[in-house]
C-alpha cells in the first residue's frame, strides 16, 4: 500500500501527504470505500462539457454512509489539506456530471447514504438523505399508497431531490421551484460540527420540516450552490395529489409568437390559474423529445436550415413553440380554470390547444404529462441524440416573464449559436414572475471542430448576455469562475469572507460557484 504512486494529486499536495491521507481514509472507511485506481475512478470522469476530461480528473473517491464518517473525513481533509467534491447521485448532466471542479479533488460520493427518513402524509413533508433518487421516493410513495406528488427535473428517474435542490434545480409541477419547497437541512461543516437549519437546532422540536425560517438569520440558502458545508439531510414539501389532473399543450406555428405566448400566460401563472412551472419549448427541443435525430432529416454541417425544421414540425405535429401546462384540483376547480385558459387562448387568436385525449400516446406530450405529474422518466434524454456525440452544456439565463424580454433573449441566443454552427434548442420554464431560459448547447464531443466551437460559443453567450444585463442562474464547472464575475465584486468578497470563516483550509469543493480561497484575489 505504501508504495502506491498516484497519477493525479490534489492541488498543492505531494505524494507523501496524499498517501497518508488515503491511509487515514482507508482506516476510517475500509479499503472498499476508498477508490484510487484509474479503472475505479473512470466513472467519475464522464463529462458532457467540451473540455478535456483530464482537467476534471479526481485523485480518489470516497464512499460514506453516515454523518459520523463524514465528520471524520473532513477532519482528515483539514489535517492534510485535501479538497473534497461532494456528490449525492452525481447526475448533474450538462453542469459537470459527477466530476470535480478541477483536477485532483477527491470525490465524496454519498449515493449509498440513501435513507428516506420520514414521509408525513398529513403534513405532506419528506426528509431524505443525499443518495435517495426521485425514483426511489416515487416507488416508496406508490408502495405505501400515499396520495402525494413529487416534483422532479427531467433526469428524474436517476437524479435525486437533495442534490437537485442544493443546486437550485427546478421541476414542472406547482412545486417546481424546488428550493422554495425545501424545509430544513442538516449540514456537516468543515470543522466537523453538525448544523441543523430552521427549527432543527431546537431540542425536542418537531417543526423542522414545516417551518422554514427558524429564528434569527435564515441560512439555508447559504448552503445551496456553495461550498460551505456538506448537506446530509434535507426536508422538503410534497404536493397532495389532486383528485383531477389535466395536462395540456398549446402549439404555436411561428417563432415570432414567443412574446404573445408569454404575455397571455403570465397573468394566468401569477394568478395561479395555471399553477405549475409551465414550459414553452421550441421546435428542436420537441424534436429531441420525440426521438428525432438530425441525421434523419439533414446530413449537412452547421446550423439546421429553417425548411428542415419546418418539415420536422409538419411530420411530428410539433409547433415552433409548444406550451406545456396542467391544471390540478377538484373537478369544479379544474373546470373553472380550464374555461379561463381556453378563453384566453381564443382571445389571443392563435395557438392550438391539445388535450391528453387528443395527444394520445405520442411523444413528447406523454413524457411532459408525466413530468408535470411527478412520474419519473428519461424521455428528454432524446435531446442528446439530436446532434449526437455526448456534448451538452446548459446555458440558462434568467429572464423576466415578459414577452419583449423573452423575444430579445431568444433572438440573441440564436444569433450567437448559429454563428458557431450550432442550433438553438431552448425552452422557457416559467417560475412565477421569472423564467429560466434553458438552452442546451449541444455538440459532438468526438468532432474536434464542434468541440472547440461549442466552448467558444458558450463564452460568447455569457459575454453578450452580460452586456445586455442578463446572467445565468447556474452553470457547469468549467465556467463557474466566469459566471461568478457577472454578479459583481462585493458579492464575491462576502462569499469569500464566509468561506474563510467556515472553511479556512479551503477543503470543501473549492471552485464551486467561483468560491476558492486559493485563487480569489479580490
Amino acid at each position: 500500500m505504501g508504495e502506491q504512486k498516484f497519477d493525479v494529486l490534489p492541488r498543492g499536495v505531494n505524494q507523501q501527504a496524499f498517501l497518508k491521507a488515503v491511509e487515514a481514509f482507508r482506516k476510517l472507511l475500509g479499503d472498499e470505500n476508498v477508490l484510487t485506481k484509474p479503472e475505479q475512478l473512470i466513472a467519475y470522469m464522464k463529462i458532457m462539457m467540451p473540455v478535456d476530461e483530464a482537467e476534471h480528473a479526481p485523485s480518489a473517491a470516497l464512499t460514506a454512509t453516515t454523518v459520523e464518517q463524514i465528520q471524520a473525513i473532513v477532519k482528515i481533509c483539514n489535517e492534510y489539506r485535501i479538497p473534497i467534491w461532494t456528490i449525492s447521485t452525481g447526475r448533474n448532466f450538462g453542469y459537470g456530471s459527477a466530476a470535480p471542479h478541477h483536477r485532483g479533488q477527491i470525490i465524496l460520493d454519498l449515493k449509498k447514504m440513501n435513507k428516506i427518513l420520514h414521509v408525513d402524509p398529513e403534513l405532506c413533508t419528506a426528509l431524505v438523505e443525499p443518495g435517495v433518487t426521485y425514483q426511489q421516493l416515487y416507488d416508496y410513495l406508490q408502495a405505501h399508497d400515499l396520495p402525494l406528488m413529487l416534483s422532479m427535473p427531467a433526469p428524474s428517474a436517476i437524479a435525486g431531490p437533495l442534490g437537485n435542490t442544493m443546486d437550485r434545480g427546478v421541476g414542472y409541477t406547482p412545486y417546481g421551484e424546488h428550493f422554495l419547497m425545501q424545509c430544513g437541512m442538516e449540514v456537516v461543516l468543515a470543522n466537523g460540527e453538525v448544523l441543523r437549519t430552521g427549527m432543527g437546532g431546537v431540542k425536542g422540536d418537531n417543526s423542522w420540516q414545516v417551518f422554514k425560517w427558524g429564528y434569527g438569520p435564515t441560512i439555508d440558502g447559504l448552503f445551496t450552490q456553495s461550498n460551505y458545508g456538506i448537506c446530509t439531510k434535507m426536508g422538503f414539501w410534497l404536493m397532495p395529489r389532486p383528485p383531477v389532473y389535466k395536462p395540456f399543450s398549446i402549439k404555436f406555428d411561428s417563432e415570432d409568437d414567443i412574446a404573445d405566448i408569454v404575455e397571455v400566460l403570465r397573468p394566468l401563472r401569477i394568478a395561479q390559474i395555471i399553477p405549475n412551472a409551465l414550459v414553452i419549448a421550441n421546435a428542436l427541443w420537441e424534436a429531441g423529445g420525440a426521438n428525432v435525430r438530425r441525421t434523419q432529416y439533414y446530413e449537412g454541417q452547421g446550423v439546421t436550415p429553417d425548411d428542415v425544421i419546418e418539415r420536422i414540425c409538419a411530420d411530428k405535429g410539433i409547433g415552433q413553440w409548444n406550451v406545456y401546462a396542467a391544471l390540478y384540483g377538484t373537478r369544479e376547480q379544474v373546470a373553472v380554470n380550464w374555461q379561463i385558459v381556453t378563453d384566453a387562448i381564443k382571445a389571443l387568436g392563435k395557438g392550438a390547444i391539445i388535450t391528453e385525449e387528443e395527444a394520445g400516446d405520442t411523444e413528447p406530450f406523454k413524457y411532459r404529462a408525466k413530468l408535470m405529474q411527478g412520474i419519473p422518466n428519461l424521455q428528454e434524454f432524446g435531446l442528446y441524440n439530436w446532434r449526437g456525440g455526448g456534448g451538452s452544456m446548459w446555458f440558462a439565463p434568467v429572464s423576466q416573464a415578459r414577452g419583449s424580454e423573452t423575444s430579445k433573449q431568444m433572438r440573441l441566443a440564436k444569433k450567437i449559436l448559429n454563428k458557431y454552427g450550432l442550433d438553438y434548442v431552448g425552452e422557457f420554464i416559467v417560475g412565477w414572475r421569472d423564467m429560466h431560459h434553458v438552452i442546451d448547447v449541444l455538440c459532438d464531443r468526438s468532432d474536434p471542430a464542434e468541440f472547440k466551437a461549442a466552448y467558444a460559443c458558450f463564452q460568447e453567450l455569457l459575454d453578450e448576455f452580460e452586456r445586455q444585463g442578463y446572467a445565468v442562474y447556474r452553470v457547469n464547472t468549467a465556467f463557474m469562475e466566469r459566471v461568478a464575475q457577472s454578479y459583481g465584486p462585493v458579492k464575491r468578497r462576502v462569499e469569500h469572507a464566509i468561506k474563510r470563516a467556515l472553511d479556512p483550509n479551503n477543503i470543501l469543493a473549492p471552485g464551486k460557484s467561483g468560491i476558492d480561497l486559493e485563487t480569489f484575489k479580490g
Binding site: 466513472a43 398529513e122 436517476i158 389532473y245 449526437g388 455526448g390
Partner: protein, 100 residues
Amino acid sequence: MISSKYIPIIKIRPIIVGVVFSISLSVHAEDSAQPRDGEIVYAKICGYCHDVGIGPNIKDRQLPPEYIHYIVRRGLRAMPAFPEPYISDEELKQIGRFIY
C-alpha cells in the same frame, strides 16, 4: 364546462390515523449491502432509455458481462457513466443475466 376531459387519478379517502403515524416515522433505505435484482435495476434505470429508442436495444443480444461493465462504468457518447456506489458490480452481472 368540460365533460369527458377530466382525468381522475385518485379517490379521496379517509386515512387511518394509526397508519399515518407508523408511516410518518418509517425509515426506508435501499440496502447497499444487498444487490438489487437485475430486472428491477434494468427497469428503474436502463429501460427508461434502452426500451424507448433513446438508447439502442440491449435485450436478447447476448452482450458479454465484461462489455456491459465497461460501458456502464465509462458511459458512451450521451449515455452517462454509473460508478460502483450507484450500480454495484454484482448488480451489473445480474442486469447482464436479465438482458442476455
